[in-house]
């Protein structure tokens, strides 16, 4: 009888473990990541954002749901005719939450800088002076935290390109960084499996920068 009870207990433990851990979380994340790819309207973007926020609420120790919700709010500000400043401010709040769960994360730091870039683009004359150095500093920090993070390098190259265009200097530095980020994307692609839910975006941005290099 003892044996049976042990088996029962073990099986229950195994099932409980399986339910609460990665597969369910990964499946839920993948569902939202798939939905994210098909976003065409602001309403759809909001639906997927909410999806990530539900995961964030249920899995309180995971930073990725907040990260993607913040990313969606940022992309929404770039793509749709909405109150862009408000959307970016909300993205900043979500990034803060992600940062609390996973302090010193390169992806979160880079996204934080990306949101600031969005804020700058809405009022370059008024905000550029104070926010550009902040954004640059965040990208620098993100690169320091993970030298293989292609998004940090890409976003930095984009800032560098803007600066080079403004001051009429050559785009060499921006180009070099963008090319480097493309190599990092290739490396990253090799790691991607069916269960991969970490950020992979940004390659097209790097390609846009390198397109200006010839």
């Amino acid at each position: 009888m003892k044996k049976y009870i042990l088996t029962l207990a073990l099986s229950l433990v195994w099932i409980a473990f399986a339910q609460a851990s990665d597969p369910a979380f990964i499946a839920a994340m993948q569902k939202q990541l798939d939905a994210k790819k098909t976003i065409a309207t602001y309403e759809q973007s909001q639906t997927v954002t909410n999806g990530f926020l539900r995961i964030a609420d249920a899995s309180e120790t995971e930073w990725l749901p907040y990260y993607y919700a913040a990313l969606l709010k940022t992309e929404a500000a770039f793509r749709f005719e909405i109150d862009k400043d408000k959307s970016l401010d909300e993205a900043l709040e979500l990034v803060k939450k992600a940062d609390k769960i996973a302090p010193g994360n390169s992806e979160i730091t880079a996204l934080n800088g990306y949101i600031l870039m969005g804020k700058i683009s809405l009022d370059p004359a008024g905000r550029g002076q104070t926010m550009s150095p902040q954004a640059m500093q965040l990208f620098g920090k993100a690169i320091d935290l993970d030298r293989e993070n292609p998004r940090a390098v890409t976003l930095m190259s984009q800032m560098e390109l803007g600066m080079a265009q403004f001051f009429g200097t050559g785009p060499e530095k921006a180009c070099g960084m963008a090319r480097m980020s493309l190599e990092l994307y290739t490396k990253e692609e090799a790691k991607i499996t069916d269960e991969y839910i970490l950020p992979t975006w940004g390659k097209t941005v790097a390609e846009q920068v390198t397109a200006k290099c010839d």
Binding site: K3, Y4, T7, L8, S11, L12, I15, A24, A28, E43, Q46, T47, N50, G51, L53, R54, I55, D57, A58, K86, D89, E90, A125, G126, R127, Q129, T130, S132, P133, Q134, M136, Q137, G140, M163, F166, F167, G168
Partner: protein, 719 residues
């Protein structure tokens, strides 16, 4: 039962559990009962949920069973929870109304009398950068504020004059702590400027009346400057200017930063090149050293330190009406130090605390007409405030302040000295009550006690704001303000007490996409102003016997949107002010309060030239003065004041700025009044001399270089 059967049953049970799906549906509405799309509905602790559709409806399946909590979340709305029981296949959720949260971003702000320069908040009139890039201001905070409505330019003084009040009626604060002798020491008719570099501030709050119970000892205006929180990077800033130079080194890491700055200026070489109208014996010169440090604390607080010490001087001859020769010789030497430290922290439970301490020390050594005089002023200020947000609708601020104020004047030859020691205590509280997003009420009380004047007083203040359209709002503010007399008077008669003023302000503000329009009308009464016999340098029979009023209208338009790469603002202020005070014998328009005041500021950026061009035009209809050859007081008026300034900032490299500016391009000979001989000449006429500008024009050239690992840094802020 064998293990296999047991496992089978276990799985079977679990499977049933997994497939016992319940379908939930319902609708989310806002406060007014309108459908609320985009709300997030979720079974607490699970991934199951949905987003409300255009019509506010939601529908989803869940495998959860039994008693559960349904959570309704939407950014900007209060989260709601609902207990449900999942034991049917289909569950209809009752209608849920979400209540919008009132935040600083979505609610109305009180704008009566208030103008802010900030990067962070809404309803700002200026950006911090505007202060340094306003042409004609020459990097002086007050110079830039003089282009805003409610102010008058008094060119022979340089200080801030607000709505028919004199310069002493403006209280200047740094991080909420009072600054004593905020302007450089000067002598009569030589314009001064603020001692502090605008570069160290991240925001400015300028009130032309009706301000918060947090501020006192200012009859007309409060100017509150907030220092930067934390420098981001290690860098060096070098400035080489036509009037001097300086270097600033900043060291920064994630949690702390420290800057040390040293500057030296001397107008002598400049004045050798450009002819001056003033008869300088020694051109103004000076040096300053400044330290600022910020430390983030582990538990979320921030501690700041700002310390500055400076010294400077000037010597000049001031011609006297009816006398031959160079006139009166004035020699001024000044030493000044200011130090403050403050701490602030916000807690999760809704409390925010602030504590700070500041000391201002000023010493002037003057020789006027071969009479040496020493003046010492020492002002210490301690302040503690606590803010509690009871909910998103009600917040409370309470605070206490203590001032120690010592002042002395010494006639060196006679070895005569007079002085006073003062202690002032204040208590204040202020409550904000949001009746809705569109309507806010603010009520405050400020109580004060002066040991020297032996007075205790209470000032009530009330304001409200109501949003009348999507982009427009009206604000109303009223309050009572007390101010003790200036040091020169108190040292003669310490028993003289407070002057009193009451404000009433009605404001309309419209703000949309880079366009700000403000119109404001006000009435201000004055009671118990100081009157005396004799002249300002030697007053006698000081009394709280004066009174007066100021009323008028301000209009302000700022547009950053309509013209590409161009930002402009226009201010017009009408002030009708009359008062009996100082040596006045009748109620007259004071010499510092022109009726019509106008300014236009334009900034235009030319990308191909990597340059910002700026211009400022200022106008007023002239200053009143008393001509003793005619009957009455303030019986004459100067010609109108006009000045056009141009500036050109060129950014050849990200870390280099070249700035060139000309004040009063056309060299218009502005006159701020006339001084008259004390006795008539042989023909029975009082002879006069005009009070004018130091020179027809002022030219400035500066090169600002930032040295840092990060090549994008520049010190545009130093212009």
């Amino acid at each position: 039962m064998n293990p296999r059967q047991l496992l089978f049953i276990t799985f079977l049970l679990l499977q049933t559990q997994a497939f016992a799906q319940t379908s939930l549906h319902g609708q989310v509405l806002d406060e007014r009962g309108m459908p609320l799309p985009g709300a997030n509905v979720q079974i607490k602790g699970s991934y199951d949920g949905a987003t409300s559709e255009q019509d506010g409806s939601f529908q989803f399946e869940t495998s959860a069973t039994g008693s559960q909590v349904l959570v309704f979340k939407f950014l900007g709305f209060k989260t709601q929870e609902l207990s449900i029981s999942l034991d049917t296949n289909s569950l209809q959720i009752p209608l849920v109304k979400l209540i919008e949260e009132i935040t600083e971003m979505n609610s109305v702000t009180i704008t009566a009398g208030a103008m802010e320069a900030s990067d962070e908040k809404k309803s700002v009139v200026l950006r911090p950068l505007d202060i340094v890039t306003t042409s004609g201001a020459m990097g002086d905070i007050v110079g830039a504020l003089q282009t805003l409505p409610g102010t008058s330019t008094v060119g022979n003084d340089g200080r801030l004059f607000v709505r028919g009040g004199d310069a002493s009626e403006v209280g200047i604060y740094i991080d909420g702590l009072r600054v004593g002798n905020a302007y450089g020491s000067t002598t009569a008719n030589v314009p001064t400027r603020t001692r502090f570099n605008p570069n160290i501030f991240k925001g400015t709050f300028f009130s032309t009346g009706g301000y918060s119970a947090e501020y006192g000892q200012a009859l007309s205006s409060a100017l509150s400057l907030n220092t930067k929180d934390h420098s981001l990077r290690t860098q060096g800033d070098l400035s080489i200017m036509s009037v001097g130079g300086g270097y600033s080194q900043t060291l920064a890491n994630d949690n702390q930063s420290i800057s040390l700055t040293a500057n030296y200026f001397d107008l002598k070489p400049y004045q050798k090149l450009v002819k001056q109208d003033f008869d300088w014996e020694r051109a103004p010169y000076g040096w300053d050293v400044e330290l600022s440090a910020q430390q983030k604390l582990k538990k979320g607080g921030l501690v700041k330190v700002l310390a500055r010490t400076e010294a400077g001087g000037m010597q000049l001859w001031q011609a006297q009406p009816g006398e031959d020769g160079r006139g009166m010789f004035v020699n001024l030497h000044n030493k000044y130090s200011y130090a403050q430290s403050n701490w602030r922290n916000s807690y999760e439970n809704g409390w925010s605390l602030f504590g700070g301490l500041s000391v201002s020390s000023n010493k002037d050594d003057l020789i006027i007409d071969s009479i040496p005089l020493e003046r010492k002023n020492l002002l210490s200020h301690a302040k503690f405030t606590a803010i509690k947000d009871f909910s998103d609708r009600i917040s409370m601020k309470v605070g206490t302040e203590y001032f120690i104020h010592n002042y002395s004047e010494k006639l060196q030859l006679e070895k005569q000295e007079r002085s006073f020691e003062e202690g002032e205590t204040y208590l204040f509280t202020e409550w904000d009550w949001y009746l809705s997003k569109k309507l806010v009420l603010r009520g405050g009380l400020r109580a004060g006690n002066s040991q020297l004047a032996k007075q205790t007083w209470v000032d009530p203040r009330i304001s409200l704001a109501y949003q009348i359209s999507e982009f427009g709002q009206v604000s109303l503010a009223t309050g009572q303000y007390h101010q003790l007399p200036i040091e020169n008077f108190r040292v003669i008669d310490p028993s003289i007490g407070n002057s009193k003023s009451k404000h009433l302000i009605l404001n309309y503000q419209y703000q949309k996409d880079g366009i700000t329009f403000r119109a404001e009308t006000f009435y201000k009464s004055y009671e118990d102003l100081i009157t005396f016999k004799g002249n300002t340098n030697n007053p006698s029979q000081l009394q709280n016997a004066g009174s007066g009023y100021a009323r008028g209208l301000d209009v302000f338009l700022r547009d950053r949107n309509s013209i590409k790469n161009t930002d402009y603002w226009i201010s017009y202020s009408f002030v009708d002010s009359k008062r009996i005070y100082n040596q006045y014998e009748t109620k007259v328009q004071p010499d510092f309060a022109p009726k019509h005041n106008f300014s236009l500021v334009v900034k235009h950026f030319i990308p191909t030239l990597k340059s910002q061009l700026g211009t400022t035009y200022s106008f007023n209809d002239g200053y009143k003065y008393t001509d003793p050859n005619q009957s009455g007081e303030m019986n004459s008026k100067t010609k109108s004041y006009q000045s056009l300034s141009l500036s050109w900032s060129y950014l050849p490299k990200p870390n280099l700025i070249i700035h060139f500016a000309v004040q009063n391009v056309f060299g218009r000979e502005n006159i701020f009044g006339y001084s008259y001989a004390s006795k008539p000449n042989e023909q029975g006429v009082f002879e006069s001399l005009p009070t004018g500008q130091p020179a027809p024009r002022f030219l400035f050239l500066g090169i600002f270089l930032t040295l840092s690992k990060d090549k994008t840094a520049n010190n545009l802020n130093n212009l």
